[in-house]
């Protein structure tokens, strides 16, 4: 994609020198540099963006990660860390002159501390594998991104991943205790502790969601929570998305924080129903899935309260899953929403804005208008409890210019989210994808502050260059195309 070239982050890496240096610290099968071996690494979950790295390093020990970092630091070579490669914003998109550092071989669960309710794992361990390993102790790891079968915990930390249970249980940042991180200089440091806090600045919060820009995560200690005695899910149908939105506010006003609260619009409902036959009411304009969990007694109290609220909020139908199997079926439709859309459209593009929930009608209307303007259909999936919206734009990459139109449309959705007081990314990260929208979200001085923070950890700018935080020049370039209210953003910069 020409619009995402690396012209700002050009490095002059000598491949043979790099390969020879890495050979001394890595086994033969841990170092790839022939182009046919590199292609599996050319993209992450955002497959529209592709780039071959110069070299792929797949170390097995922390000491090797330290060696790779020392070599890259010495030779001035960029490093892009990669976990399972399921990220949706191009955060693990390789650098053409750099090392793609795969943490895929770090897949051991090192310790489950049942007394202190924590698990220490290597970064390549899959999210769901932690909960599976802890299940026999009736404990689990709460954050559950939809990709939890495949995504790894290191990537979850790098992106501050969420999931469908964030409203009650928080994001990754709320559910980790300690990290071991290798700096660009190759030093191994411990951040956080086994206690609930640590001395000094909250580097644990800073590192979480930093998208591989500040260090490489080589070990993670997560909090485990007691598995709820019972979880129960309600499905409510609405003939109007606005009514569904107010129902969410009414549940929260009643003092109930559901474990999960998801909304799907008509197109998502229909696609999901055709795909997994979850029994969704396909004539509804929107459905809400509301899960409450806790002790038996608490769930009983809350489920009847929520049912009444949904009915009085105008639901045309409210169903309670009669058993765990039906509960799983209700969720299956939601969790399969993305692949379901993939069945009805050659390609789809997933957006990730968050908005204050009260602006849902405005934003949905805005998306509808943009959808007709661009002639591209949109299916909406919404983490309704926490305001995180996933509009899926349906397009066909084989139609010339359609991807570019889709990207532009997506960018406008994100700008709309910012306008109503929201954000361009709730849980997928900025990566390469939303780098231009960062110019809309932040002012010059704020972006400069981000760059100064990056400099504090990585003075040479070798860690994941060109991602997450745009340069001011990039914003000037982008801003020149997006003039709001006759004012040029970033007026202090020259135009080109």
């Amino acid at each position: 994609m020409s619009s995402h070239s690396h012209h700002e982050t050009e490095f002059h890496t000598h491949r043979d020198t790099l390969v020879n240096a890495l050979r001394k610290v890595l086994a033969d099968d841990a170092l790839l540099y022939q182009s046919e071996d590199l292609s599996p690494y050319e993209c992450d979950g955002l497959s529209a963006y592709r780039q071959l790295p110069m070299v792929v390093a797949i170390p097995t020990t922390i000491a090797q990660v330290q060696d790779v970092m020392r070599i890259c630091n010495q030779l001035n070579v960029p490093v892009v860390a990669r976990g399972a490669g399921t990220g949706l914003s191009g955060g693990a998109l390789p650098h053409a002159q750099g090392v793609l550092l795969s943490l895929a071989r770090f897949k051991s669960i090192l310790n489950i501390d049942t007394d202190n309710r924590s698990a220490t794992v290597q970064p390549g361990v899959r999210n769901l594998a932690i909960s599976e390993a802890a299940a026999k102790y009736r404990l689990y790891y709460a954050p559950d991104p939809s990709s939890q079968i495949a995504c790894s915990i290191g990537g979850n930390v790098a992106e501050n991943s969420g999931g469908v249970h964030c409203l009650k249980y928080g994001l990754t940042v709320h559910n980790i205790l300690q990290l071991k991180v290798v700096t660009i200089e190759g030093e191994l440091i411990t951040i956080g502790s086994n206690a609930l806090d640590a001395p000094g600045y909250d580097l644990l919060a800073l590192m979480t969601g930093s998208e591989g820009m500040l260090g490489v995560i080589v070990e993670v200690t997560v909090k485990l929570l007691p598995t709820p005695e019972r979880a129960q899910v309600l499905l409510a149908a609405f003939d109007d998305v606005v009514k569904a939105g107010s129902a969410v506010g009414n549940i929260i006003s009643a003092g109930i924080i559901p474990a999960g609260l998801e909304m799907m619009d008509k197109l998502s409902i229909q696609a999901a129903e055709d795909f997994v036959h979850a029994g969704y009411p396909t004539d509804a304009a929107a459905i809400l899935l509301c899960e409450v969990d806790g002790t038996n007694e608490e769930v009983s109290d809350h489920i009847s309260a929520v049912r009444e609220i949904l009915q009085s909020s105008g639901a045309t139908e409210v169903r309670t899953a009669k058993d765990d199997a039906e509960r799983a079926t209700f969720w299956k439709g939601r969790k399969a929403a993305f692949p379901a859309i993939g069945r009805i459209s050659p390609d789809y593009y997933c957006m990730d804005g968050t908005i204050p929930r009260k602006h849902l009608p405005t934003v949905l209307k805005g998306i509808e208008d943009l959808s007709s303007e661009y002639g591209l259909a949109v299916a909406n999936v919404f983490h309704a409890g926490d305001g995180n919206l996933h509009p899926l734009i349906l397009y066909n990459a084989n139609v010339e210019g359609e991807l570019e139109r889709t990207e532009e449309f997506g960018g406008k959705i994100l700008e709309l989210c910012v306008e109503v007081g929201g954000t361009i990314t709730g849980e997928h990260g900025v990566g390469m994808e939303k780098i231009n929208q960062m110019c809309v979200q932040f002012e010059t001085a704020e972006l400069e502050q981000f760059h100064a923070v990056k400099h504090a950890f990585d003075a040479k700018g070798l860690l994941n260059p060109g991602k997450a935080v745009p340069t001011l020049h990039r914003c000037a370039e982008f801003g020149a195309m997006h003039v709001h209210h006759g004012e040029l953003p970033f007026p202090e910069l020259e135009r080109f």
Binding site: T114, D115, N116, R117, S118, Y137, R138, L139, E159, N160, G162, C166, G170, V173, H174, T190, S193, A195, L196, A198, P199, G200, Y201, D202, L203, L206, T208, G209, S210, T227, I252, S253, G255, G294, T295, N296, E297, D301, T354, I355, P356, D386, G387, N388, G421, T423, T425, G426, H428, V430, M438, Q441, F442, A445, E446, Q449, A452, V453, A456, F457
Partner: protein, 356 residues
């Protein structure tokens, strides 16, 4: 909705910081001055932010409140309480004048912390003045937001050394319908084990304290959930329980009396009791131990580290060494970060560590 919004003095605060940056004059940031005793001392020109006050936006159905840093903590809590909501981290005031800014800067959380999260967990966004005199926004008013580095949570516990807080947006929660505190007499070892056993089960626990005599467990939830917990846990119901938790949180319980230094030990929750000369009160269901005694500082710190955590000299000891020393590489990163936010080192220099 907004409440008690006073004059916006952010511009004059900004001018003060800019002038201080140019003249390299240290500033001592003061809100309610209720936590002046805490941490290391700093002696710059006073920058009083208590006049910058008011609840700018409180949306109960969005579970968000945005407040100026000089707002009194009690004022915010009253506004939340009127809507059946609360700050889930149950912050200690440690003085009537406590402000929102000081609460965030110290990141001190009350007994609900292990179950409801800390101050830092509920910071959604901030508006600050950095050491260059620039007004900056990070985060926002939404719960999920991963745009840019998380510089808002970084403010929590930074003791004002990275920026002057102007506004903070908090995630708030509903108050539980019912609360019940049960207690029973036991040893400290039994108390620690019992707290952790209970915290390992899916019961609606919101506090666990051992005060030297009794184990107290607080339950918060729906009526039937709390009643079920009463049957399972046994023990006696504590009358006037709100007052008990308040005295723990505000350090008014008899344990906190006397002149011996008070230490805060933050440990892995199931860590066995650390035997030191003096007395111990267990809070945070085992994860926070208050120690009052004359033990040697190094011994206290080593013991805390062995139990997966760290120790803070909270009151009555050597303030110069209030916080656990950092690993040299981690300290280097701290210094770099301080330099990035406050290049001339004018904001509360030395308040957290001598080098920052």
């Amino acid at each position: 909705m907004g409440l008690n919004i006073n004059e916006d003095i952010s511009q004059s605060l900004q001018e003060r910081v800019s002038a201080a940056m140019n003249s390299k004059t240290a500033l001592k940031i003061v809100g309610g001055n209720s936590k002046a005793f805490y941490g290391r001392e700093t002696d710059g020109e006073i920058l009083n932010v208590s006049g910058h006050s008011g609840i700018l936006n409180y949306e109960p159905t969005e579970l968000v409140a945005t407040v100026r840093a000089g707002t009194k903590l009690s004022e915010l809590q009253q506004a939340l309480s009127a809507q059946g909501q609360m700050l889930p981290f149950e912050p200690p005031h440690l003085g009537e004048s406590a402000t929102v800014g000081g609460t965030v800067a110290t990141n001190l959380s009350g007994p609900r912390r292990p179950f409801g999260g800390a101050v830092r967990d509920h910071v959604l966004g901030v508006k600050i003045i950095n050491g260059k005199g620039e007004i900056l926004h990070f985060g926002g008013e939404v719960m999920k937001n991963v745009a840019g580095y998380d510089l808002s949570r970084l403010m929590a516990g930074a003791m004002g050394t990275l920026g002057v807080l102007l506004e903070v947006s908090f995630k708030v929660n509903p108050v539980a319908e019912n609360e019940l505190t049960l207690y029973r007499n036991c040893s400290i070892d039994t108390a620690i084990t019992t707290m952790n056993e209970w915290a390992s089960r899916p019961y609606p626990i919101s506090g666990g304290v051992f005060d030297g005599e009794n184990l107290y467990i607080r339950f918060s939830g729906s009526e039937n959930a709390v009643e079920a917990a009463r049957k399972k846990f046994g023990g006696d119901e504590l009358e006037d329980a709100n007052n008990f938790w308040l005295r723990i949180k505000e350090q008014q319980h008899a344990f906190f009396g006397g002149d011996a230094p008070l230490w805060r030990l933050s440990l892995a929750p199931a860590s066995p009791h650390i035997l030191l000369p003096g007395k111990t009160l267990v809070d945070w269901a085992g994860a926070q131990r208050w120690y009052k005694g004359e033990a040697n500082a190094d011994d206290i710190r080593q013991a805390a580290q062995k139990s997966g955590g760290h120790a803070v000299m909270f009151r009555g000891g050597d303030r110069d060494q209030a916080f656990q020393p950092l690993d040299p590489v981690v300290m280097r990163l701290h210094k770099n970060l301080k330099q990035a936010m406050d290049p001339n080192g004018i904001l509360n220099p030395g308040r957290l560590y001598a080098q920052l």
